[in-house]
């Protein structure tokens, strides 16, 4: 038997108090008798008995002491360890996703409740049990594996914080399943607020979901209408009752505009703000009122800086190219098949023209040019047309930087004479030992020209992971794009950073002011745990370029409505608190009531 609390044992000090009170209570009334002659035997007894012996048959006092001890025992919440973790191997998976920051009741969050249940579970495990602790949100983290040190696990659980990331316990459950393969008999406790599949896992799910009223800003969007900024805010009421709230736009600490909105239960309202006057590029929308989660009451938006580069793609149909271009931030791609109208397009002064197996009669007079599988005398002459299949490999250049070992096959390709101003970056073995350059890039009179000798359709290059990187490098060398492609993210989403390789390594300033230096120019920055406005800075040729993006609460976390108990209400493995541990408190309370009744009967009889 173990005890949840030991502090009530201090109340055992009351036992001597009861005895003393009984001894004091024994103050006698005076009773005159004819003679003490016959009471002489009593005198003998009286002398023989110590004060303690006098008390030994005082049933009322004994009952009271037993009742006190029983009540103390009830306060200590004793329990028996059941066969819950009979194998001696336990695993605790705790969902630490953003939704765990929701209030479970008026006093604690779901994570607090989860920690409480986890602590209760761990404390009740037999000493020597191998315990693994896993947190789970968008990914699982094994905080402690097969530790027999319960105190260490307890400390780790106490220090857990919600990650702000979207997700649930499924990643953790996957990890637990992997652990179970290694640890036969592993019994898992999953604590989450979202539905979870524990098939093929010996697990018990503790559901910490609670239906507390909540209103959230689902998203904020903006648009320009003749240079006027219009803002759209979608507010959703996840409660069972209609609410009336204020929706406000702020820039920093300055309130810009407020509107009141009434939202029906379980429905959304869209609030429009027209002709909003903003001084900067960052603002946020906030819905008033305190509810289950305050974080989702705010949503940031960042106005793009308008430095999008215009790209014209002339192609008949090339999904590979289109996909690759879509991934490149800071460019707006216009696609056309009509090569004859190139002159009309050229009037729009695109920053970059990409010709895919289509060659105009005349090249545009401005802008940068990339050509795929083309013959263009205006740029350079063809060296050869290689019709038999070849392996293409990368040459050392800025374009193939970080693409070591680049190698792919083509069915046929042109090889070019590389102009003086250009640098080859792809080559194949030509006739004999001589290398044939199949791609080059170079700057001439402020314009960048690049030619790639093969059609992507005749190549397996798009199947390689280097393909989008090379495309990015290629386009980036032709047009200088932004560091980031999107400006608004949800917590947990990775921010694709594509910094200028000419400059220094970029740094990220978090909302808290913490600065993180990125280790590469192209980087998936995923530490978007903090909500708020981030900035990415890069020094390029003594100029500091700054991009700003915002990270919002992952709204999917506000929409959880399929919690474990709802989905598996009949499943005995889904509970709302840790069970399987035989808690004696209630039995002891019943026992104390019986004792009190006995005491009452005794006192009546007396």
């Amino acid at each position: 038997m173990k005890f949840t609390h030991l502090w009530p044992l201090a109340f055992t000090l009351l036992v001597p108090v009861i005895i003393i009170m009984y001894m004091m209570k024994q103050k006698a009334k005076e009773q005159k008798v004819s003679s003490l002659y016959l009471w002489s035997e009593m005198i003998k007894n009286d002398r023989a008995n110590t004060p303690w012996e006098k008390l030994k048959k005082n049933w009322l006092m004994i009952l009271q002491i037993i009742t006190l001890l029983v009540l103390i025992a009830a306060l200590t919440s004793p329990y028996f360890l059941s066969g819950l973790v009979s194998s001696g191997k336990a695993c605790v998976v705790i969902d630490t996703s953003a939704s765990m920051n929701f209030m479970y009741d008026d006093n604690q969050t779901r994570l607090d409740k989860a920690k409480e249940e986890a602590l209760s579970y761990v404390r009740k495990l037999k000493n020597g049990t191998e315990i693994s602790l896993i947190t789970s949100d968008k990914s699982a983290v094994l905080l402690n594996g097969k530790s027999q040190n319960k105190n260490e696990i307890i400390e780790q659980i106490k220090n857990l914080e919600a990650s702000n990331y979207p997700g649930d316990a499924s990643e953790g459950v996957s990890m637990a399943k992997a652990l179970a393969l290694d640890s036969k008999g592993l019994q898992t406790l999953v604590i989450t607020d979202s539905s979870i599949d524990i098939e093929n896992l010996d697990a018990m799910v503790v559901d910490v979901y609670s239906d507390m009223p909540n209103v959230a800003v689902e998203y904020v969007s903006h648009g320009f209408k003749e240079s006027e900024l219009d803002v759209l805010v979608k507010v959703t009421n996840f409660s069972e009752e209609a609410v009336k709230r204020d929706v406000s736009l702020y820039q920093g600490e300055n309130l810009i505009v407020t509107k009141e909105v009434e939202i029906e239960a379980n429905s959304s309202e869209v609030v429009y703000f027209e002709d909003v006057d903003l001084n900067g590029s960052v603002y946020f929308a906030q819905v008033s009122g305190k509810d289950a989660c305050d974080e989702d009451n705010i949503s940031y938006d960042v106005l793009s800086d308008g430095t999008e580069r215009k790209v014209l793609l002339m192609t008949r149909a090339n999904v590979y190219l289109e996909k690759a271009l879509n991934l490149i931030p800071g460019i707006a791609v216009t696609k056309s098949e009509d090569i004859s109208s190139i002159e009309d397009f050229a009037k729009q002064e695109f920053d970059l023209y990409i010709f895919d197996s289509l060659v105009p009669d005349k090249l545009p007079k401005q802008g940068n040019i990339i050509m795929f599988g083309c013959e263009c005398e205006e740029i350079t002459q063809i060296d050869d047309f290689i019709a038999d299949g070849r392996i293409i490999h990368g040459l050392e250049s800025n374009t193939t930087k970080y693409l070591d070992g680049l190698s792919f096959g083509v069915a046929n390709t042109y090889s070019y004479k590389v102009p003086d101003y250009a640098t080859p970056f792809l080559a194949t073995n030509g006739v004999g030992e001589e290398e044939a350059n199949v791609a080059f890039i170079g700057e001439k009179q402020g314009r960048t020209f690049a030619m790639i000798g093969f059609d992507l359709h005749n190549s397996d290059f798009p199947l390689y992971m280097e393909y989008p990187l090379l495309m990015y490098n290629l386009v980036n060398e032709c047009v200088s794009g932004g560091i980031i492609s999107n400006y608004v993210y949800s917590s947990g989403e990775a921010v694709a950073v594509n910094a200028n390789i000419e400059g220094a390594l970029p740094t990220v300033v978090k909302p808290s002011g913490e600065i993180a230096e990125l280790t590469d120019y192209r980087y998936n920055y995923s530490d978007t745990k903090e909500y708020g406005v981030y900035s990415i800075n890069q020094v390029v040729k003594d100029n500091e370029e700054t991009s700003t993006f915002a990270v919002n609460y992952p709204i999917s976390e506000s929409k959880i409505d399929t919690h474990p108990s709802l989905i598996s209400s009949l499943n005995e493995n889904v509970v709302t608190e840790v069970k399987g541990i035989f808690n004696l408190r209630n039995f002891i309370i019943v026992l104390s009531l019986i004792l009190l009744a006995l005491e009452w009967i005794f006192s009546l009889r007396k």
Binding site: A28, E30, S34, S35, L36, M42, K54, K57
Partner: protein, 289 residues
Amino acid sequence: MEQIFNSEFYEKLHTLRMSIALTIASGQAGGRKSNSKGNSVEFSDFREYMLGDDIRRIDWNAYGRFDRLFVKLFMEEKEGVFQIFLDCSESMKFGEKSKEVCAKRIAGALSYIVLENGDRLFINTLRDDHVLTAGSYSGMQSFIRTIKFIEEAPMGGSNDLFKSVKEKEFKNRGLSFLITDGYTDDLDDTIKYLKYKKQDVVLIHVLSEEELNPRYEGTLNLIDSEDNGDLRVSFNATAIKTYKDSLNKFLTETENLCKKYAVTYIRVNSSDSCDSLFFSSLAKLAKKV
């Protein structure tokens, strides 16, 4: 205090006609027949003349018929001498139906019987280690005085039974009624002393209901009514049992003592009614004696 000799008492007294066949061996000539042969008008027996016999008592008619000298023997009529010893210590005042009332009524009733038989009566109150004797009373004309003395006899203080009885001077054989609650270690000596003084002894042991069946509870500080000694007792079943064991032992020892010295023993519960007192206790006394 309850009136001791009330009308009920007297009514009961008149209906009490007990003939107590007490054997008397000595004393003044009186209305009681003695076993010793003496000078009296009542014929008892014949026996042959012996030298020294009063020749006036020779039955000459018998001599004529049997030619031998016979003397007539006559029953000597003597007066019985009765002592009533009444324990007047403080403990006798105890009881809801107090032992005092009971004891005094018994003394009064015995006085009536004795005086009605024409015997001589002494009333002795025992108090503060001394004896106070009133008497001698004889004849029914002294009954009122007897009753008055008994009624007014003060009760209180402590008393050493043996010490006070020893002060009494006995001149004749007689019968002593000792009315007491017996709470003394000297009861043995007292009875022996009375026996030594040629007294037939009747011990009337008066106890109250509270003493026979105590109903105390809780913890009490018991105070001795005579010497103010105290004893702290927690009453529970065990304590009551211990007391009852002591009481039974005390009663058995007293009865055995009485048997040993051929003392008539009568136990009276002070809460018994007058009827019970007169027609059970005293009638029992009459049969026994």
